[in-house]
Subunit: 313 residues, 2 copies
């Protein structure tokens, strides 16, 4: 594919439209919004793109496939209603493997009140999952509400999942306890549903940190037509990130900004509202008038930064 | 995979449940039902399982991926609200191919009032689509309402899509005009949305003929806890089916019953209501008290009949 994921999505939006009659929000946010109060999202997990069978148990895969969708519903400020699961059973996958995968799905469904209500199943060359989740909110929190003067904040530490990915792929060694922590952050993401419910009425814009804040802050800038500024030195580092970054030879802030899949929330809000936002927030940057762009400050900010591109190799 | 598609779904339903608190209908019908009035379905289309790139244009693939979901929404007696598209971009697929695919999706979306409102995209080894559609109805028509004494009827001719599949795969030769007809039936299915709206208040059970009536009549029997009887000689044959069946060396009724992907509606209703059902119906069988099973009469009924199994080779 000669074009990036985001360029391809731009072209797709040009064909199917970003909003149609009867649709409140189409392509371009964490989820679509349909009247009167539905939000709706889907995420793909494809073998050897998003996970490897060698380093991911079926139960972890099931958990993660649903968790990333619950995270998108949460990032709209919505409560999950349920999920559908499209499963392509790759070569060599047994019925018992599928059952383990669904036990992981069901554990996440129970934890977040998002029952699996249906789906489809097919064989295919590689294992992949297409999970879609539906939620409900009377007042969705979009990416487009950030205003110059806002600060950017996140709900928790970043970089742990990225460190886990590098560790599981064998590129770095870590002390046992740190390795277990970052591996778990990568395999069992915890969507910030409770935090999102609290923040929904208090922030101007919200999205989940799925591709890495370097990329997600650009998404926010694009949707809100602003410049976002991220201070890499201000990013709260997950345990093990400093050690993993040293092993990779990058600044810790760079790993935290680009590792992706932390599933913390990134919000834009009035600086005066940070202290009583109802959940602990870490201020990591600000919103400015200016061209649609993300700018970085701090150690490593001179490096080329980018998030994941799921079409790239 | 050592178990069938339906056995695997049975095991999955055992894990995630067929109905949870807040869910009206879970796994086991054309779509899930969520209160107050939502129906929700997803279907996978996987390269070399459901289609071949060699014999399917990208525009046709896009049309079909949405059409089969609209058909499931229609079969619940619901009106479509919108769709999400999860696209795995297989090796060798260009951005222009993806755009053509979305033009086919959008043509179907426009024809049936089911706009594409979002989705996800990823690379992967083979091309696959996971489309999910949402609909709305105050009174969903389930598979579980068939009663002994009902007749079984379909809304239109069967076997055309199956004939097209065999023709496109090079197993049979057909006269040019018939070939064009059955190829189109296979590539551009026309969900019976308008017919479903009319039938919704008048029938006891409804589903779409996706796997072939031989298989779908068994699904109906399972959901309604009855015996269904299908007369293979009574099946309305699409144009080209007799010729295709001759080429394959099977009875025409067998091809019509097992070809699959016709996307006509199969309904169970009171025999007295057939004449004024509001749309033309073809009576093809009946519902009887008895063990959960489908029984066949007519030419070819002694043959082993089955529908598609998307886990089988």
């Amino acid at each position: 594919m000669a074009v990036s994921e985001f360029e391809l999505i731009r072209r797709i939006a040009g064909i199917v439209g970003t909003a149609r009659q009867g649709v409140t929000v189409g392509i371009g946010d964490d989820a679509a919004v349909l009247p009167p109060d539905l939000v709706w999202t889907c995420d793909l997990l494809v073998e050897d793109v998003h996970f490897r069978r060698r380093t991911t148990s079926y139960a972890d895969l099931g958990w993660k496939a649903l968790a990333v969708n619950v995270s998108d519903v949460a990032a709209m400020g919505a409560d999950p209603l349920g999920a559908l699961v499209g499963l392509v059973v790759g070569d060599g996958v047994t019925a018992e493997d599928v059952e383990e995968l669904y036990r992981g799905l069901d554990a996440c469904a129970t934890a977040y009140g998002c029952p699996v209500v249906g789906g489809d199943v097919s064989r295919g060359p590689e294992l992949s999952l297409a999970v879609t989740a539906l939620g409900r909110t009377a007042s969705p929190v979009l990416r487009s509400g950030a205003r110059p003067g806002d600060v950017l904040a996140v709900t928790g530490p970043l970089g742990g999942s990225g460190a886990g990915w590098h560790h599981l792929d064998g590129r770095i060694a870590l002390p046992e306890e740190l390795a277990a922590h970052v591996d778990r952050r990568h395999r069992r993401p915890q969507p910030r549903l409770a935090e999102a419910r609290v923040l929904a009425g208090r922030v101007h814009a919200m999205l989940d940190v799925s591709d890495g804040i370097a990329s997600d802050a650009l998404r926010l800038a694009e949707a809100s037509r602003v410049t976002t500024v991220v201070d890499l030195d201000a990013l709260p580092l997950d345990r093990g990130v400093a050690e993993a970054a040293a092993g990779l030879g990058v600044a810790p802030g760079v790993l935290a900004a680009t590792g992706g899949e932390d599933y913390e929330l990134l919000v834009a809000l009035d600086p005066a509202d940070v202290a009583d936002a109802g959940v602990p927030l870490h201020v990591v940057g600000r919103v400015e008038e200016g061209p649609v762009a993300v700018r970085f400050t701090g150690a490593g900010s001179a490096d080329a930064l980018g998030g994941w591109d799921h079409l790239g190799a």
